[in-house]
């Protein structure tokens, strides 16, 4: 059985790796830059690299209300990197551009100090055992990160990662998920997380 999944293309960065890894896992991938297919989508992934301001296109193309409606219907949603950050109220990277506001906090930049910003490379995730997205992922497994802004730790945090300070590397709230790292570039650990997303039952 193949799992249908809609991958949102908002013209920010490269979708090739995400689509390739989902197809590798047997998913039936539909790439869309318009809201219509989301009305019947069974799972939605919002990838993202680059600048938070690029999410403006989601508002301009009507994707934002379509995603909001799908989430309200209980459709599993996974945001990757900037796609995760967009779930929040906004980001100091682009203060004039609101996020979805599903989570109420604001994304902020890593503080300046002796460590380099951006945070680039393989770092460990400390996973909550209750997480459905991280089923079978043990604490201490590695994922590939590349970002300068990060989410605060809250009740929705399903995994934390430490760089300069601990931050939320995975969020999970009902059927809404977000990962700060790139599961499509995180080897077997990343594939396991994507597979969990494709297989989990909406609650």
């Amino acid at each position: 059985m193949t799992t249908p999944v809609a991958v949102i293309d908002y013209k920010a960065g490269n979708l090739t790796s995400v689509v390739k890894s989902l197809r590798h896992l047997g998913a039936e991938v539909t790439v869309t830059d318009s809201p219509e297919p989301l009305a019947t989508a069974e799972r939605i992934i919002l990838p993202g690299v680059g600048h938070f301001a690029a999410t403006r296109r989601l508002d301009e193309t009507g994707l934002t209300p379509a995603i909001r409606a799908a989430i309200e219907r209980g459709v599993p949603f996974l945001g990757i990197c900037v796609g995760m950050q967009w779930l929040y109220a906004g980001s100091t990277e682009a203060p004039d551009q609101p996020g979805l506001g599903y989570l109420s906090e604001t994304i902020e930049r890593f503080p300046e100090g002796s460590e380099k910003v951006p945070h680039v490379g393989w770092n460990q995730i400390d996973a909550s055992p209750k997480s459905r997205l991280l089923a079978g992922v043990e604490s201490g497994e590695f994922a590939y990160f590349t970002h300068s802004w990060r989410a605060p730790i809250t009740a929705a945090t399903a995994a934390t990662t430490n760089y300069i300070q601990p931050f939320a590397s995975v969020v999970e709230d009902r059927n809404v998920f977000g990962v700060q790292f790139h599961p499509e570039k995180s080897g077997e650990t990343g594939l396991k997380i994507l597979k969990n997303f494709l297989e989990l039952r909406p609650c």
């Binding site: 920010a12 960065g13 490269n14 090739t16 790796s17 390739k20 890894s21 590798h24 690299v49 680059g50 600048h51 380099k116 910003v117 951006p118 945070h119 680039v120 490379g121 393989w122 770092n123 460990q124 590695f142 590939y144 990160f145 590349t146 970002h147 430490n162 760089y163 790139h182 499509e184 570039k185 995180s186 080897g187 077997e188 990343g190 594939l191």
Partner: protein, 259 residues
């Protein structure tokens, strides 16, 4: 903890992996897709494919090689060599690369860095710098000069200053090759790496000279490298990323150990 990255580099000509020793004496070392997968399985954190083909026909071969290599590679994959325009970069991304490495084209047209970054994100743009110590200068390391065309052409710029400019123009990482060390297996140029790494806030990948585990430990410690790249050490069964990382871990270097 953020780990230091070990990057396996495949130098490719006409669809086959070769390895230059100081940019000459090419030896055939195998199929790029096969070697990339083997390195990833053995724990390489990233794969870099550097195309050293000069011909137009070879470019088409490259895109096919990239597509084939990327197909089931689930670690970051960088492609460099011969990328001269934003269109060249787009074609390589479309074939499955996550990052591109640009070198002489960025020197000739520094706007290229921002152009690629605008479409694909800064994290996708690596500026590669080939540098050689300037022994005519009172400070040969800080004044190490940038060369192009396989070391034949002196750009008149210093590595430190060009790395800073590349960062300010939106490069995501710097790939710094010491032309003095490249191919010698006598160790990375740790002083040069430290000079560049401390001049920028973006990650610096050290390249050139890997021969032993101690060389990697040195470039991470003394060289402040965020990542280290090696080609020939991983070929011909000299050393695997797995054994390299296990030994580095014993030396106290944070690395991602393969399962």
């Amino acid at each position: 903890m953020l780990t230091r990255r070990i990057i396996a580099c495949l130098d490719v000509r006409d669809g086959r992996v070769v390895k230059g020793v100081q940019f000459v004496d090419l030896i055939d070392a195998g199929d790029p897709a096969e070697l990339a997968h083997r390195h990833a399985q053995e724990g390489a954190d990233e794969i870099v494919l550097l195309d050293i083909t000069a011909t137009h026909e070879g470019r088409k071969t490259l895109l096919e090689t990239v597509r084939r290599t990327a197909k089931s590679l689930f670690v970051p994959f960088t492609v460099g060599g011969g990328i001269r325009t934003a269109e060249d970069a787009a074609a390589v991304f479309d074939a499955g690369a996550d990052k591109v490495s640009i070198n002489s084209a960025a020197l000739a047209d520094p706007d290229l860095i921002g152009q690629i970054g605008a479409s694909f994100g800064a994290q996708a743009v690596i500026v590669a710098i080939d540098a050689r110590r300037d022994h005519n200068s009172p400070d040969p390391v800080r004044n190490a000069r940038v060369f192009t065309h396989g070391g034949r052409k002196d750009t008149g710029r210093t590595a430190v200053e060009w790395a800073r400019e590349a960062e300010s123009r939106g490069a995501g990482e710097i790939l710094l090759t010491s032309m003095d060390s490249d191919g010698t297996r006598a160790g990375f140029d740790c002083e040069l790496t430290a000079a560049v790494s401390s001049a920028v806030r973006i990650p610096v990948i050290a390249s050139g000279g890997a021969g032993t585990v101690a060389h990697f430990a040195d470039v991470f410690d003394a060289g402040h490298a965020d990542a280290a790249l090696a080609a020939s050490i991983f070929h011909f069964g000299v050393s695997s990323a797995r054994s390299l990382k296990q030994e580095l871990a014993q030396l106290g270097i944070p690395v991602r150990l393969p399962c």
